[in-house]
Symmetry: C2
Subunit: 332 residues, 2 copies
DNA sequence: AACATAAATGTAAGCGCTTTCATTTGGTTT
DNA sequence: AAACCAAATGAAAGCGCTTACATTTATGTT
């Protein structure tokens, strides 16, 4: 591997000059620039990013912490981030936090120790206080899918409440009045926000929310299945169920069918997230779109703009969900 | 940020000694080890991985190149890799290749330039020759889901042919005789291997493979949909269709239903991969399991063993698929 | 007690770059 | 031609570590 020194030798200039043509900042005469460029080519020179990082105190890498590396939401998110960052020549170091506070802290420390210039965090378990504290250190980070008022500038989030509202309102507008709700773990902000939105829509239609029609799930198919069964067992009639994410909707559908009910004719099902799976399901799932890939891109833009001084379009911090109509809901 | 120098000062020892207690290799007296450890704690010292990399010429990072960051297969794969590597204190740099030769080469160069100690590659578009050539350089890498005889030791792959064989054989054993096939892009090794397996099973049952019953798709839902439609339009009767992956199976099911056919009663559908989606579908998809997460783990083990001299269990290079019975296939 | 030997520690030279500051070069001005 | 100034280039000091080698200290041997 050729070093900068060998290039400078071949080109007959000093190290500093080679560095200059690499980084393009200061002026170098056309003649020497050419000499150096040619030397770099003949030696097939690749600058060492490590050495560069050490000398410049900038690693050109950003750390990403997601709950899981698999799963449609995180996949789309990372995809958005990588695309954006890669074209800017930054690289992406990835770790998983597994929705566990210790594991998330571990992950954050790991990434910081790796000299990431900035972090993009999708953390669920770690406390607000921890993050507020973290923001006071010199470690730059942006939070995805979480909103903490004290550090609002570091947050990019979905208007989950409005999403929940939209989902339920769509059902209401189509004549449904008895609507069950399968939530995510309510200690998670997004889960409770979505549920609040649901309640809001109900009350807007003058319906008092029946706690018996709420079942708390785990954001997974199996949980949706169990919740649906539990709901059905209560023998309280309902014509529709809104699920706090698409996976649970899949489970709920399954459960309904296992009990001999047809979807959507006997019961309408509404999802949330609009992951790929939603269109694969049968019937295709009506759901609420969560533009997570765009949010990933935006997070990357924020970093490019705030950490690397690249110029980037305006940063939006709150994204709006949208209703996606498909086949799992009927009009009463 | 404290440096090693400050630690050495506080502990009253030399740089080298601090380095020794950090790296644990050579012997240090218990007394000084304690002094140093305490100094590190009071200073909240974190070694700079960058400086360490530069000095030791080892970055403790491994690069991963997958076709896409989203998608169930890649997600599971990365998840397996990260889990394994993270516990070993290595970190994971990720890039996407988008199934395009130039983009894949770019990605590889990018990762190499990033001083990754080794690479894990899931590449589809780049030629065998390129990879064979790459193996001759000093850059260590392992290929996932691809088999190249000349560098077999660098490959971890699925026995795709056997998978295709299993899928079709299962159909044959259940009385199906007229079996259509929706393949992936046949220039991709895995796609053609799976199809070969299909043919093999047919011929084992004394059935000549009818080319008219093959339709080449793109491994995506929409492709599966189109292929199924095309197949149906030929008016050649068939009682089952095997699809080269689960997404296409979802599309095919949809198409069949759009034409008024019931799955599995009018037509049986067999998938491949056993991604999460397969259990969410309705009816639940019978498919062939592709243990991609395990393969990811194995790739990581290979690297830990061969690059970082960690001791690891025996490396398997070829994984075997397994049939997964669910509800999308009936017995004739 | 004198010496040999091994263990513990220190010294200092890098690793491949960036960057500040000093020096040289070449073009203008008078 | 002397004087000046900006542009181009070079010299050298780090960045925070690792590591070969040198030195010191402790341990054991006779």
């Amino acid at each position: 591997m050729a070093t900068i020194y060998q290039v400078s030798e071949l080109a007959g200039v000093s190290l500093a000059t080679v560095s200059r043509v690499m980084n393009g900042g200061t002026r170098v005469s056309e003649k020497t620039r050419e000499k150096v460029t040619k030397a770099m080519e003949t030696l097939n020179y690749r600058p060492s990013s490590i050495a560069r990082s050490l000398a410049s105190n900038c690693s050109n890498s950003v750390g990403i912490l997601v709950s899981e590396l698999h799963g449609p939401i995180y996949g789309a998110m990372m995809s958005g981030i990588e695309k954006q960052l890669r074209t800017a020549g930054k690289h992406v170091i990835i770790a998983a936090g597994h929705s566990d506070a210790d594991s998330e802290k571990d992950g954050i420390e790991f990434l910081i120790d790796r000299n990431c210039d900035a972090l993009i965090l999708h953390v669920e378990a770690v406390s607000d206080e921890y993050l507020i504290e973290l923001a006071k250190t010199q470690h730059a980070f942006i939070l995805i899918n979480r909103y903490i008022p004290q550090i609002a500038d570091n947050c990019i989030s979905l208007n989950n409440r409005r999403g929940g509202y939209l989902a339920t309102k769509a059902l209401l507008e189509n004549g449904h009045r008895d609507i069950a709700y399968i939530s995510g773990p309510l200690w998670k902000m997004d889960a409770s926000d979505r549920y609040f939105g649901h309640q809001e829509a109900l009350s807007e239609f003058g319906i008092t929310c029946n706690d018996a029609l709420l079942s708390e799930g785990n954001f997974q198919e199996e949980g949706g299945n169990e919740c649906m069964l539990a709901l059905l067992d209560k023998n309280i009639p309902f014509s529709a169920v809104v699920c706090a994410n698409d996976e649970m909707a899949a489970g709920a559908m399954q459960a309904a069918r296992d009990r001999g009910m047809a979807v959507p004719n006997d019961i309408s099902v509404m999802g949330f997230d609009n992951v790929l799976l939603a269109q694969y399901m049968y019937p295709k799932l009506s759901t609420v779109n969560y533009p997570v890939q765009d949010m990933g891109k935006m997070a990357a833009s924020w970093i490019l703009k705030n950490i690397y001084q690249a110029n980037q379009p305006e940063i939006s911090h709150v994204f709006e969900p949208e209703l996606v109509w498909r086949d799992s809901v009927i009009s009463l």
